[in-house]
């Protein structure tokens, strides 16, 4: 009861702050048609941008808890560094290549250095809010996508090579895919033209990162010592899961590009799918291994969020229940492939994001309805085929390009740390620091005196 007024005050403050920001945008705009800016849409897009940004630190925690203590800082840094590297590239060239008028496969250079990307609305992408809000919102997606790959290559990839990899990957893989699916300025993107539905990034974000993750772990090879690679801090992973879930409301809800009914619909189905998938993972695991695990819950929640992403603006609540129920058993079995096929996808990026993203893209074609979104499509075999095409293009393109980038880096910079550095741990060998006091040998344990030392 005592919390309620506080929450109201916080919300009010946030809303007035955002309103103030949008008023400021008027003041700075050059030839403003002030009537065209919708303060509600602007507030929601800026809020959503902040929510999606939070998903990258959330991902860092989600992944960080699953690695060994000797690699925790390296794992966190592989997400955090993406916030810097991708932002700089996005401002200089990335946004233009993804969204400016160009060919069906990649955007042009007209918005290079954010030239012309101002505070007025932009008819194609941001009809009722500042163009810069669209730019920064899309930037947050561009940041988290390469960071997703870091979970697969964890505990062995050289940090320097990783930074170069995500920089190249962001330009060569992410921006063309984003343009093909979401590019609408002038010439439509190739997959947008075909009618492939990807509301918030099932193909662009999850299939691309999941497939690239698989290619990279094949190029990298296995970790040297996995005799005991148990997660070092699952509470951290669960905090990350909660924050990812929270941020995902901006990821999917904000993809409505407006503060309206469609945003609410995407918000609601996102929540339903996450909750259902977490439950279905726990049930499957309970049956298979006799115990419901916290990591299982976290894995299921993320799988549900991944699978609903492409569908979130095109499906209703029943479809969200179905997607959530189906994705977890599929991903649960997909992650068993790694032991059968012998690749070392450390944190199951392919099994959860690659497989879950593909499943979500396909199910979108079977569950979408124009009753939810008139600009979408009704479920049909044809739409399913188009979705399969979209997924296929994303799979093929990311696999080939990542293979090329990864192979070149392998012979030039080298992909792996030395065996000795890997065994010591990447925190010490790559960063010269330790995440926890007295950890460094990987021999940390749990104290009988009540704490962790």
């Amino acid at each position: 009861m005592t919390k309620q007024p506080l929450r109201t005050i916080t919300t009010t403050t946030l809303v007035s702050l955002l309103a103030a920001l949008s008023v400021n945008a008027y003041a700075q705009g050059s030839a403003p048609p002030p009537a065209k800016i919708d303060t509600g849409d602007t507030a929601w897009m800026l809020t959503s941008s902040a929510l999606v940004l939070l998903m990258t630190p959330a991902l860092a925690l989600f992944y960080g808890g699953m690695v060994r203590a000797k690699n925790i800082l390296n794992m966190l840094m592989k997400s955090f560094i993406a916030m810097s590297v991708v932002t700089v590239l996005w401002v200089i060239v990335g946004y233009s290549l993804a969204f400016a008028q160009g060919t069906p496969f990649i955007g042009g250079l007209s918005w290079l250095g954010l030239k012309g990307v101002g505070l007025d609305p932009q008819a194609t992408y941001a009809a009722t809010f500042p163009h810069q809000a669209h730019m920064v919102y899309q930037l947050m997606f561009a940041i988290i996508t390469p960071a997703l790959i870091s979970g697969a290559i964890a505990e062995r990839m050289k940090f320097s090579t990783y930074v170069v990899f995500i920089a190249i990957w962001s330009i060569v893989v992410y921006t063309p895919l984003a343009h093909m699916v979401w590019g609408l300025e002038g010439t439509k993107g190739f997959l947008a033209e075909k009618g492939a539905l990807d509301f918030a990034g099932g193909t662009v974000v999850h299939i691309s990162s999941g497939i690239s993750a698989l290619v990279m772990v094949i190029l990298l090879g296995k970790r040297k010592d996995t005799s005991d690679s148990r997660p070092h801090n699952l509470p951290m992973t669960l905090i990350g899961t909660g924050l990812l879930w929270f941020g995902w409301f901006g990821f999917n809800g904000g993809s409505a590009s407006a503060s309206n009914g469609l945003a609410a619909s995407a918000f609601v189905v996102t929540h339903i799918a996450a909750a259902t998938a977490a439950l279905s993972w726990v049930i499957v695991e309970w049956i298979a291994y006799k115990k419901p695990t916290a990591l299982g819950f976290a894995s299921g929640a993320v799988a549900g969020l991944v699978a609903i992403t492409p569908a979130s603006g095109y499906v209703g609540t029943t479809a969200a229940l179905i997607i959530g129920a189906v994705v977890s058993p599929v991903c649960f079995n997909a992650i068993k492939l790694k032991s059968k096929l012998g690749y070392d996808d450390t944190l199951d990026v392919f099994g959860v994001h690659g497989v879950g993203g593909t499943l979500g893209a396909l199910l979108t074609g079977l569950l979408c309805s124009k009753a939810i979104n008139s600009t979408g499509a009704d479920a049909s075999a044809t739409q399913f085929g188009i979705q399969a095409l979209g997924a296929g293009v994303a799979i093929g393109y990311s696999a080939i390009m990542t293979f090329i980038i990864g192979s070149v880096l392998k012979v030039t910079m080298g992909l792996r740390v030395t065996e000795e550095d890997e065994i010591v741990g990447l925190d010490l060998s790559e960063h010269g620091e330790a995440g926890y006091a007295e950890v460094g040998s990987g021999e940390e344990g749990h104290s009988a005196f009540g704490g962790v030392h």
């Binding site: 695991e285 299982g296 344990g445 749990h446 009988a448």
Partner: protein, 113 residues
């Protein structure tokens, strides 16, 4: 002099400490250790990957006393540390050749009193 070395369940440490306090024993060294005996390990699952843990956490309590006190001390520890289940641990009594108190340089029984 005898060193009484008890390997006990971590959750029995407090009981053992109060039993020692009842005997008037103040000096001890306590270490967290792992070990295996007759007690079975356990299995953990992480996304289906199975880990069997058979080196279990125990606590080692070491106390050096005069020869004539050792047996009573060991019995008191055993009483305090017992649950009756497999995994309660072991107590070893080990002869000690010499003891030196670092601060004063005293040797022998006086150094442990």
């Amino acid at each position: 002099m005898i060193k009484v070395e008890a390997l006990i369940r971590p959750q029995k440490l407090e009981d053992v400490k109060s039993a020692l306090a009842d005997l008037g024993i103040k000096g001890m060294t306590v270490t967290e250790v792992r070990g295996a005996g007759k007690q079975k390990g356990y299995t953990q699952h992480y996304r289906g990957a199975e880990y069997t843990v058979n080196l279990l956490q125990k606590v080692k309590v070491e106390i050096v006393v005069k020869d004539e006190d050792a047996h009573a001390l060991a019995k008191a520890i055993a009483e305090a540390a017992r649950t009756g289940e497999v995994g309660d641990g072991k107590i070893f009594l080990i002869p000690v050749a010499e003891v030196i108190r670092i601060r004063t340089g005293e040797e022998g029984d006086i150094a442990i009193s």
